[in-house]
Symmetry: C3
Subunit: 439 residues, 3 copies
């Protein structure tokens, strides 16, 4: 706990996100339990207002039921010569998530039914869970498995399952309007970096940035165990969110430098899809565009039929695509870097800036206005004299009250933040007013 | 008539369709008359319930008027040396359809005005009719014509026109619902195989298959003289058909092995168009896609403005495209084969299976359901463990009550009959219900 | 004035447009004043009914205000050795439009602040105006400027600004219906040929052609100073025009032979856009397609948000694109030719013919009609016998009361004037009626 108290404020850049990630790294997280609670407590220590919700075991959450809470004191697998094969204390990936308590001596043959490895990645410990079926198991490297000899193995898992609760946390920053931008991320994975400490660390940095500025929209960040957490959140807030969320992002796999990835919402053409695609096209060199069929995170819940929040995933390398995914090789340095996190942070800030500044520019005059009398246009007309004002007159021409600034930017092929400056000039001259998007 | 009584039941495969075609071959069919009636009688001998309608000469049928009935006892053209040039008894194509009675002796020059040949296909006897203008003529090969010498020719056509009727037949198999799938085919052509004995023979086989199974939709098959028959059918049933037909096919040129052809409905995007295009894309190697501008059969009536039944043509080689079309060369063996008919039969059965099983899958739960507790999903979650359930979860994800199963199959790139199996599993688990298509 | 009285009637071809252009050439036009009035008077001398509107200085016109009227008696720039550098009498481009009166002796250095040249086109005198800011200046060639020596320069501009008016002219030819086709052109440019005497000369020729024939639609032609004129017209007639204009063209740069150019309306898909694009595709070899972002003439007003007349520009080489644009090099012969004007005239007549003849063909019978009994179809049916009637039956098939003749022509790939002939035959046979377009 020494290192942990060293961090006093929310991360503001890539290196500080790495520092936070290191602090959170050793905690044993699962979809319930003290590891999850401790993680939320550290993340929320940076904010005055935050809320941690406990949802009791047995509670119905959409089609799901909140499982028993799981607690592990220790878990160890000892070989015939008393050598330690796997110790939960050394790496919390060694234990299959939600393993039941066991105290057994076994022959190798019987043990192997409870051993998980990755034959194609012989050095990696896989990440395995069994939340809803009572079983137990150890995860080790294929190399380690290959060294196991005949003999008696001792298995001792000191875990317990009991009526408790799952936990999820919430940060909310009210803006000028109730309509909100929604971020979800999950905190149920043990020690892995890109999937999934990068998500909560970036969410914390974004929330901290949002907190310090005036916002038009409200912003909500939820930190929850994957799947069951989003089901619980939707069970309690579905109607409110459907009414108020204008854009939504699932934050996962946002810490590496290898790629950028876009995964659309189920409906494919929501406002969030448009903003994200525009920003990726405008601000990134290239990126991989996935389809809804490639999904695999909480968007499964948030975009489900009859819910359909406008949620997209803007990721670096997608889950399931990079080889270290869901293994002990998904580490800081090996996969996640300060630069990767920083670039993700910068890109999300740009998307938020677009959302905050997008509007429906609406002309206040009929016909093309006389810009010259407002000193917005050269008074002497000669060949080529109007070339510097093309962006402005094009913006005016499309300010018909039907198109968003983002759509006009695309139509005119003018970068968003360039056309925004023109818009502000015209608003200051009472030529155009900004109307709310119809979202 | 010996051969004819030999067939006791409807054809079930390509060879049996060939046998039926041979039985029907020699009958002199036209748009009215006993040949048409005999053909219908044979076809309907395989079914308990069928209906033959007679529509009297002079009856108005949309913009058309039912013509007089035509009867031919004999027709012969004899040359100067008493040689027989053309005898209706030998080939009913020799006589121009609806020829008036004639008993004349003519010079060659005068005769030639009544002789039809195909200079580009010198061995073929062309198929010529003149239903609505009183004239007469003989059709012979260009080779035969070239051998005609100067001299006196005797023409004797023992035909009559009289107030009678045209005939059309109807098979109807009620399903669970009144909405129906409609098949039209025509029986007005004399001895030609692909255009047009292949149509009624395949229609009979399909009807026989439909009869023997439980169907969701009702099925109607009409066998009629081309053009005037469909006009008469629409005159009496237009409003009912517009209300109830959800898919419609015109069966013509379905017996050769040379090609597959698609001719869309006038509206191009009806439900039948979608089913047919999907099946052709999914189940055929390649095919020729025609436009509505290439039409030429009863779809001209059924798809006309203000009627607009959703009718397409799925053909083998299209009428007008293959060289033997409308000549004496359009024969069994030369054009039509048992395999050609069988493959057409198989393909139509697939289209019907798609129509029968298509529906609007609608999720009964909110959010992604918990498949694990229903044993539909691996309870132990490890890297790659969900790859076998992708089809199922993709289907669930799109079961929003707005998309048909066919649309979902296309969206997910899953073969229709594969996704259908997944759907049935989910229906059995009360996760999805099948709703009716909105057609 | 001798030459001027020589022209007694409106131009009917390219050469007569050139003659008219020569007559108008020397007149000093601006956005107000006697030059503009004299131009309108000459153009309207060919028509019985015409109207010249005067709009007083200070009048509000949309966001604009009508400026003072401008009158020039003389303007001369004399060099140190008494040589004449620029004389308004020799070329009215020498004087910056709306220059204030000046009587000064200046050093070269001070003079140069009021001298306009085109360094890239050293032989050309540029066209410069300053309507809304009080200043003065001379336009000379870069070559002439380079010869100026140190010394005293005499500037004498005998001009005046006073409360007067701007003028615009209007020709209106009522048709069978009140709905109208609208042409705008501008008459405010001094001696330049393509931009902008070609516009009013072609407008006069088109108006003269329209006058002599029976028209279904009404036709309006406005001749006005650019920008302020269209603002004044819209100020007084906006609501009427929005209600009644079904197609609109801005006539500018229509006299050269170098290219054809299309500039769409702001909404891009109005009826005028469709007609113009169809005709350009069908009747021209090739053309340059510009976007709304490339606009630069009165369409800026007529297509502005909340006005949105369906106005396009069909030009030869677009303003701003050809090098002589807005310089003394934009002359008859150098840029504009009799053939250029004639070809433009012919093309506009074709577009008008399409508009006059377009309609919604609507079948009067249900189902495909029996063409044979109306002698529109061969009564003897043999292979290939219907090939000559494909256009007719295709037209019938699409006459569902939902598609315009132009849309059907495109769908059937039949030239408009070919399908029009088929339509007239069918109308004469009471098979189809022409309904009004829904514009």
């Amino acid at each position: 706990m020494k290192d942990r108290i060293a961090i006093k404020s929310a991360p503001c850049n890539g290196q500080e996100m790495i520092d936070l990630m290191k602090l959170l790294w050793p905690i044993n997280r699962s979809i319930s339990g003290d590891g999850l609670r401790e993680t939320l407590k550290i993340l929320f220590s940076f904010f005055e207002d935050s809320k941690i919700h406990e949802v009791s075991s047995g509670t119905k959450a959409l089609d799901w039921t909140v499982p028993e809470e799981w607690k592990v004191k220790s878990a160890i697998l000892v070989g015939p010569e008393n050598e330690i094969i796997a110790d939960f204390k050394k790496n919390n990936l060694h234990l299959v998530g939600y393993s039941i308590p066991v105290d057994l001596v076994l022959e190798l043959e019987d043990l192997l039914e409870h051993i998980y490895t990755l034959p194609d990645q012989p050095e990696a410990i896989p990440y395995v869970t069994s939340y809803y079926k009572k079983t137990w198991g150890f995860c080790i490297s294929e190399n380690a498995k290959n060294k196991l000899k005949q003999g008696k193995y001792k298995v001792k898992i000191d875990s317990s399952h009991f009526d408790g609760s799952i936990s999820w946390g919430e940060l909310f920053f009210p803006g000028k309007v109730e309509k909100e931008v929604f971020f979800s991320t999950y905190c149920c994975h043990p020690s892995m970096a890109n999937n999934e400490l990068s998500g909560p660390c970036l969410a914390t940095a974004i929330a901290n940035w949002i907190r310090q500025k005036d916002n038009y929209y409200s912003y909500r960040f939820v930190f929850a165990p994957e799947t069951i957490g989003s089901a619980a959140i939707l069970e309690s807030k579905k109607d409110y969110l459907k009414e108020n969320v204008i854009a939504a992002f699932n934050l996962t796999c946002v810490g590496d430098e290898r790629d950028w990835s876009f995964l659309p919402s189920r409906q494919e053409n929501t406002y969030t899809d448009k903003v994200a695609k525009y920003c990726m096209d405008a601000f990134l060199g290239s990126y991989t565009e996935y389809s809804w069929l490639d999904r695999g995170s909480d968007e499964r819940m948030y975009c489900a039929p009859m819910i359909d929040l406008p949620m997209v995933n803007v990721m670096r390398t997608k889950h399931g695509v990079y080889p270290e995914y869901h293994t002990s090789l998904d580490t800081i340095g090996n996969v996640v870097t300060a630069k990767g996190l920083q670039d993700s942070f910068d890109f999300y800030k740009k998307m938020i800036d677009v959302i905050e500044n997008d509007c429906v520019p609406t002309s206040l005059v009929i016909g093309e206005p006389q810009l010259g009398k407002r000193s917005l246009y050269p008074n002497i007309s000669k060949k080529g004299s109007n070339s510097n004002t093309r962006n402005m007159v094009n913006l005016i021409s499309y300010s018909d009250g039907k198109k968003s600034l983002l759509e006009i930017a695309k139509k005119c092929n003018i970068p968003f933040f360039t056309i925004l400056k023109e818009l502000n000039t015209l608003v200051n001259n009472d030529l155009i007013e900004k109307r709310d998007l119809n979202l």
